[in-house]
Symmetry: C2
Subunit: 242 residues, 2 copies
DNA sequence: TTAATAGTGTCTTTAAGACAGTATGTC
DNA sequence: GACATACTGTCTTAAAGACACTATTAA
């Protein structure tokens, strides 16, 4: 399919190529992470028809519906799942004349975190791709693998000094679940002692009074305290440094 | 790049132009910081003619000259000063339908740090605007004040756990100069003890053997060690928290 | 000598980390 | 009771910070 005509905001002399670009192809791409049932980090993609390379949810700005770039990004998510994002952040904007054969293109990349969701909340064509060794297990279309890695880098970094780990968990979770988030994303985790100290020595979590039972001592279930202002910590964990 | 087939999610009435935007007005804006001779943080702007609101260096992508967005950003800097950036980073991309009366527009914002430079390296029309109370002392055109503040937020944060302070200083500087960078940017500074420990207990700096003389004990002049890999620290200073 | 800033010694504080030990459930 | 995982106690370590002290120059 050929691209629609480009609206030119400056007159172009017919014998000259474009000297100054007011515009370029713009897309807003989304890297949505969840913790899969297989205990792997997964990224949301769209595959249609089957056996084609999956691609990240992405799209154009729709000026009638989107007031800002965030709207566009959120709309991409809504096209694939009803599961709302618990965290949302812009990662980077990549623009050059090589990514798209048609010339200059520009992609604004966002990433979001989701709570583990049931498969029913997925639209047809939506698939979760495992992240294995820091990369999508199935190679994505275009340069989407690279976009995932940009988002991964940010995520890997930010979980080490913020409350982010909690945003990948169900509403009720244990401290071990937090430790597990580190293992899944970084392949190593801080000691429980450190996690306990950090997350309990502030007002971030509140005890639900419930326990999770297994064939062992039950674990306290926590939920995030909505009143809490705590979000960033002053130090990195040293055990999880890359 | 992600050129999925363009789907129109709403029918298009014939008298309305675009429903799905492949494009929007794009500009690349630059927030260039330096430490002024008046010991204030300054931001580079462009004012012509005089008595009009100054604006940040900004421009369009020139597809013949720019291979990527960074090229465009760097070109904006070169138009106003020959002083090369010591640090360069993308801050944010802002896009919505309100900033520009013509409709949807998109701005990719970069910020750079410069070493204190002589006025001769400035092109005509270029001016340094003092930052006072976290804002440009003279109100800038468009939403450029906001863009400066986005960059300031990043800068304020990042100097607290990185080698950034050094990038605003001349090639040779003292430890007190580093402390002064904190005072200028955050209005408070960590104690010298902490700065010494952090910057000297790693391979970041090397003693030039030279001293800076005044009417007091001379201060050791350091320069950055080009071999050093150190760039980020594990902790924030607590004395400079916002 | 004094003023002024550079730099050191040392104790406190804070939070991470190591690691051994205790607690509490299921089977 | 065995087991598995949850949780605690306590000592160590690393780096920030407080603060008093010494050092070195110009004038």
């Amino acid at each position: 399919m050929s691209p629609p005509p480009i609206k030119r905001h400056q007159p172009i002399k017919s014998h000259q190529p474009i000297k100054s670009l007011n515009t370029a192809l713009i897309s807003v791409d989304l890297v949505a992470f969840q913790l899969g049932e297989n205990n792997r980090l997964q990224v949301l993609a769209h595959q249609s028809p089957e056996n084609t390379p999956p691609q990240l949810p992405a799209g154009r700005i729709e000026p009638e519906r989107d007031h800002c770039l965030e709207d566009t990004a959120k709309r991409q998510l809504g096209r694939l799942t009803a599961n709302p994002a618990t965290y949302f952040e812009q990662v980077i904007t990549i623009g050059d004349n090589q990514r798209d054969s048609r010339g200059w293109s520009l992609t604004v990349v966002y990433y979001v975190l989701l709570r583990p969701g049931n498969e029913q909340s997925l639209q047809t064509g939506a698939v979760w791709i495992d992240i294995v060794n820091g990369q999508p297990a199935i190679t994505l279309a275009y340069d989407h693998n690279q976009l995932v890695m940009e988002a991964m880098d940010r995520l890997k970094n930010k979980i080490q000094y913020s409350a982010l780990p909690v945003y990948l968990l169900p509403t009720e979770f244990t401290l071990s679940d937090i430790q597990n988030v580190f293992s899944v994303i970084l392949d190593k985790a801080p000691p429980m002692r450190s996690i306990r100290n950090r997350f309990l020595n502030c007002d971030l979590l509140e005890d639900t009074g419930k326990k999770r039972y297994g064939s062992n001592r039950p674990a306290t279930l926590y939920q995030t305290n909505r009143q809490s202002e705590t979000w960033l910590f002053d130090r990195l964990y040293l055990t999880t440094k890359v």
